[in-house]
Symmetry: C2
Subunit: 433 residues, 2 copies
């Protein structure tokens, strides 16, 4: 019942969040940033408690690293809030305006989605980033972070709720959930929650997707490909594949499968393999690959595996169509790259590969909200509706149709006494609240 009360409270707050002015939201964001800096000692102390527990429970080293939230990271998230303040308000934008008839004008205007539930990993900075993105876009938010970060998340959520309330943001817009049972309850609250954004492991995201009637935005797998076309610069290919695979292996936009065109495989594979091997990458090749370089054998399941590790599967393909077909069959619609100097090949690849991000001659690791210039991101989506790829502020809004008339009735148009003009108008919705 507690989660229901939280969801209702968020829903009630969201009714008024949608009407907040940009100034009020930005003032609240400034107040949050100032409070996080002013109370950084408390935050660091709470984080040290979490780190202490992590130590005692032998939390894995990479998780401990993500959990750590020292003053330097608080400074980083505060810089993030500054850049969020400088971004345009995504709410209240007139997306189109149409005259239906004289004095009957239709406006399509962006507005917040409403209430968003976000489940995220152990990094406490995620809590600040997600909640401030939601505030700027006028959404209420239910947050569930990693349980390892419970003390840090609690103080962060308290500070944000407290300060934003004093800055005139409706109480209840930010709600922290605490347990797995809370998440289970949240998934059943389709009456109050409009969108769930799960971040985390493959299995976890799939579980969420299969256990709620609420729309889910996110990605399960990140099986990304690099395809070395026959017209590729081989040194560039080696550099891009190596960066895409090894710059950070544990992330969704790292390359998992390398496709090499048969027309250049003899030349390209040894160079690329040498570069990968030097960075400690294990290569699993198809039969044709193994005729050219010495490596382990790739099995059918390798084409569908997200290693998130220093492992790459390699396949020799006969031409660009086969590469595209492999990607559309085994890929997860996340990020896929072609390396070529042939513009037509690049155009074909970018047109036919059905992924959120399709790249030409640059690392797959660029698929990221910050690198795209979106400000922060709430996550990366491989959905085919609403928002795709890195999702920033624009993915957190929808629109309303506003129609203003002076007494028009439909009977007049149906019975021929009036006619629609359907003229595009170059103006913004004129009413402000």
């Amino acid at each position: 019942m507690k989660v229901k009360a939280q969801a209702v409270s968020a829903r009630n707050a969201s009714r008024f969040l949608s009407a907040l002015s940009t100034d009020k939201k930005n003032s609240a964001l400034k107040a949050i940033r100032d409070a996080l800096m002013a109370r950084s000692d408390e935050i660091v102390r709470a984080n040290e408690m979490d780190l202490q527990i992590a130590e005692e429970t032998n939390l894995a080293a990479p998780l401990k690293k993500r959990l750590s939230f020292p003053f330097s990271k608080i400074e980083d998230v505060c810089k993030g809030i500054d850049s969020l303040i400088s971004l345009d308000d995504p709410v209240g934008k007139t997306l189109s305006a149409t005259e239906l008839d004289k004095n009957l004008e239709l406006f399509k205007v962006s507005c917040p989605i409403g209430v968003i539930g976000v489940i995220f990993e152990s990094r406490p900075d995620a809590l600040v980033q997600i909640s401030t993105l939601c505030l700027k876009s006028g959404n209420a938010v239910l947050l569930k972070g990693g349980s390892e970060a419970e003390n840090t998340n609690t103080i962060l959520a308290e500070i944000i709720a407290d300060v934003s309330s004093r800055a005139g943001i409706p109480d209840g817009w930010i709600q922290l959930l605490h347990t797995r049972e809370d998440v289970g309850q949240m998934l059943s609250m389709d009456e109050y929650i409009d969108l769930i954004i799960p971040r985390g492991s493959n299995e976890f995201v799939k579980y969420i997707m299969n256990n709620t009637a609420i729309p889910v935005m996110g990605h399960a797998d990140g099986i990304c490909h690099a395809y070395v076309h026959e017209a590729a610069d081989i040194d560039m290919a080696a550099s891009l594949v190596t960066d895409s695979k090894t710059q950070y292996v544990a992330v969704c936009n790292a390359v998992e499968t390398l496709l090499v065109d048969a027309a250049c495989a003899d030349k390209a594979l040894p160079v690329i393999a040498a570069s990968l091997t030097q960075r400690g990458v294990e290569i699993r090749g198809c039969e044709r690959t193994r005729r050219i370089i010495d490596c382990k054998e790739a099995r059918e399941e390798d084409w569908a595996t997200e290693y998130l590790d220093y492992i790459i599967s390699v396949k020799v393909v006969d031409g660009i169509e086969q590469a595209i077909e492999h990607i559309n069959t085994y890929g997860s619609g996340h990020t896929d790259l072609i390396i070529t100097s042939d513009k037509k090949a690049a155009a074909l690849f970018m047109s036919l590969v059905d992924s959120a991000d399709v790249f030409w001659n640059c690392s797959t690791r660029f698929a990221d909200g910050y690198r795209y210039g979106l400000g922060a991101e709430v996550g990366i989506s491989t959905n085919k509706i609403h928002a795709r790829g890195p999702v920033g502020l624009e993915g957190l809004v929808i629109y309303k149709y506003m129609l203003m008339g002076n007494g028009q009735v439909v009977a007049d148009y149906v019975e021929g006494r009036a006619e629609f003009t359907h003229k595009k108008l170059a103006k913004d919705f004129p009413l402000s609240n």
Copy 2:
């Protein structure tokens, strides 16, 4: 297994539909229109078989009327195809362009969703409208119409598949399903289908929403409100409420509940009630309403009922906030109207009512894709993500991010050897396939 084969075939076609030129799609639409006219005798004959069966099985009169597809209606859908041809191609639009760094340019470009499953009512014109909207937006489509229209739908789908194939559209893009079991199977094919659009009764749409992992776009209820503000012109109010209620009672954008401000109820209610009663509308009022006019009693469940009939529930409210709260509590987020001469009240109402369509001084019956100038519509959505309100071509596309570089790696940006510029560019994606 048959439905799976159809879904796979649609998926395969969709890979190539996304890359079709506007000219090719428009030529195919012209060919479809010409073929529907040329083969109108066959279509009318098939429809007469359906009408004959409807006669024998005592189909209700309104359903028979919808099922009827004489030459005049074939002409109407052909006019609809003409106007669809004249609309902009929603695919391939550059939505934003950003320089991430010199020679590293990011484009957000619209593209088809992929494969769409549509379940629609007995009107055969719906099959033509939906399939041509999907073709223009580059989507493959699985269609299931009303079983009463089986013969008509079969010949229509055959003509469209045949003609579009000869016009160079990939085979398999249009698939007709035939039974309820087919629909059940379709709902489980989240691997091949990207979006389900169910049209039909309340219970049916809710059933679909609760029985598939595929995103669903549509509306279950259409509980629309008209609120007569204290500053309303009472004659306008009577006219708008009457049109919104009675112009066509069996549709989702008809008004079901009238809210009248206590400040003008004594004057307004008798006038509005007289107008409604004259059109044969049964009034169910709250206690305060019944002190002013003679009518049946409204019970709690009336506020949550979509009558789709000559019945309206009426409630006296104390001010605009109470009206907004009633609508956000009992409404279905479809279409809600304020009648007032007070601009500030209109602005407040339009800002705080959380519905797809919020209207000021005009009939709720305007909430319709054709009336909005969208061309036809695939349906009306009360979703909070992707598309809201009447959904035309723009609701059938999503976007891809296309990034073009010349060898950039992320390590350079992370390790400080390069910096992002993040400049907005005023140009379109330069590669065409």
